[in-house]
Symmetry: C2
């Protein structure tokens, strides 16, 4: 492992994109969103995605220049076509537009079709919280998760995120897959020779399994059983049915197939707090809630009750100082993609 | 058990409300919402709530006449004061307003403070789906569920509902508590002498328990662990912090304390499908999704993969024919509350 400073990692990633025709502003934005995930310790949504993005750009499977087109528009509702551009650029721009519309109408919803893998959703909902709005984002993706009672994967992990502003502290940031767990955690359990809890996955034979290898060849299960399934349907309905994007079941597998567009869908929402209560009053009520939660008695072994996003925010503060840990091989290949000799710029 | 026809049960409940000063239109509406839950087999949200409602009306703890006041208003966002009226009347009117605003602006959010217990949320979100909109509703309530890592109840079960229109079939109706289970199911397990699964509840000693009696004296746990906790925070933030209602931790216990207002909060949202896609196209895409889900292979022992709301819709069709099963004692007491001699009108 090497530790790379945030700025340096962003620069290298932006350069790798820029060389392949991504306009510099877009390249910097995509790099910033990716590195923000690394800074939160979510490496599966950070720099390690870059080689796959580059491969798509080189194959012509993803457009280097992101053109957002308006499909339909009515006051606080907007449907965009992402033009198979870079997911991070599409999403950040769509949320920007959503925030503008919410400022005007109190609330807004922006759907996107023909979008792409967009990394961790937390970045986009946080944009809304930074403007004293409640932000919501969701996405479909390639199939990985079975419906409740089913065996065949139909949904993606259909991630759902929300950010809520607080006074004097980082916003509450909820960012979760609707599967009981992520494939990365199953892989980790496999690497450590551990079995996985029941309810995480089915094996390729369509039966419940606690064996990580079986699980990886099988299907993820929804979080909270039928409840995660219900929410996955809501996300799929809004991201695919309402936008005209592909259903998750028909989306090209992001980590396997680099030959064409994914045509997945996203949905963004913003609620302007000021339409309801003065933002300051809302944010102090959020602090009151946080204090009430944190002062409660704790389970044995729990040192502190955390709010969603607390852990990631703390991790960020540490990694901003220490640099971002990357496998040396990844760091070298990023540098090569950026046209620099490995070893420089550390 | 006796079986009572839908119309007759609605009439008796409306009469019981009417006698206590509830205007006839409101009394009929509240009765209709309550009986709709019974028709779906959700008896805990139906007629069995009526004695508690009546007790509140008689104690002056709930207002018979529901006056909705506007606290603040900006285009697609509206904050209402429910005036401590009847929860069902408040909620149905708030959703009606939300639908009107969404028709005008594509999307709308209506928050309510000073609201009351409002039964099953499915009724309200279905109002939106009937108008070709995606409806969302949520509520806080009295404390029953611990935060993740905590032992003291802080949240209500913070129910979350959504309805999505489909063509040629009942809408998808999601209506769920964010707790791993409902107290009613723990009571049922206790009655049958069964233990409950791990992850449902903590005992009064703050330790995980599989004993239903311990669980009933303890605290519910969030569905899907930390994920249900995160969603409970989102619901609490929107229903309590954004509306100015009481936090769940401070709401009067609905089933124990009949002495004053609950001052809880709700939030309603509607998204007009037509702002994004022609409603017919959206609804056929929903059918496509439903067909795709249902045609997949099933777990051993699963006869059919259901969509959220399928089970309730089928139950309704049966109970519309057979009548609603009620404990005889409850039916008698409802008749007495309605000023009729028990046994009549069956």
């Amino acid at each position: 492992m090497v530790h790379i400073g945030q700025g340096e990692l962003e620069r290298i990633i932006a350069r790798a994109f820029g060389i392949r025709g991504v306009p510099s502003g877009d390249a910097e934005l995509a790099a910033k969103v990716l590195v923000a995930a690394d800074l939160q310790g979510k490496s599966s949504h950070g720099a390690e995605l870059v080689p796959g993005y580059i491969k798509r750009l080189e194959n012509g499977a993803m457009e280097p220049v992101t053109h957002l087109g308006i499909v339909s528009e009515w006051k606080a509702g907007l449907l965009l076509d992402g033009g198979n551009g870079i997911g991070q650029v599409i999403a950040a721009r769509a949320m920007e537009i959503c925030i503008q519309r919410a400022r005007e109408h109190a609330v807004a919803v922006v759907g996107v079709r023909n979008s792409n893998h967009l990394g961790a959703l937390g970045y986009y909902v946080r944009m809304a919280a930074d403007q004293d709005m409640v932000g919501v984002a969701m996405s479909n993706g390639f199939r990985a998760m079975a419906p409740w009672g089913g065996v065949d994967p139909f949904f993606s992990t259909n991630p759902l995120a929300a950010a809520i502003p607080r006074s004097g502290d980082d916003p509450v940031v909820i960012d979760m897959a609707l599967s009981a767990t992520a494939r990365a955690k199953i892989r980790q359990a496999g690497g450590e020779g551990c079995s996985i809890p029941e309810g995480w996955a089915l094996g390729p034979d369509g039966k419940a399994t606690r064996d990580p290898q079986e699980a990886l060849r099988g299907t993820l299960l929804p979080a909270g059983g039928v409840k995660g399934y219900a929410l996955a349907i809501l996300v799929e309905s809004l991201c695919a049915c309402l936008t005209g994007a592909r259903m998750s079941a028909d989306v090209r597998a992001w980590y396997e197939d680099y030959e064409g567009p994914t045509e997945l869908g996203n949905l963004f929402m913003a609620v302007d707090v000021a339409a309801f209560l003065p933002a300051g009053r809302f944010k102090s009520r959020m602090e009151e809630m946080a204090a009430g939660i944190k002062k409660g008695a704790r389970l044995d072994g729990v040192e502190e009750i955390l709010l969603p996003g607390d852990g990631a925010a703390r991790k960020t503060r540490v990694l901003e100082q220490q640099g971002i840990p990357l496998p040396e091989r990844l760091w070298k290949s990023l540098q090569v993609m950026a046209g620099e000799s490995p070893g420089t710029g550390r």
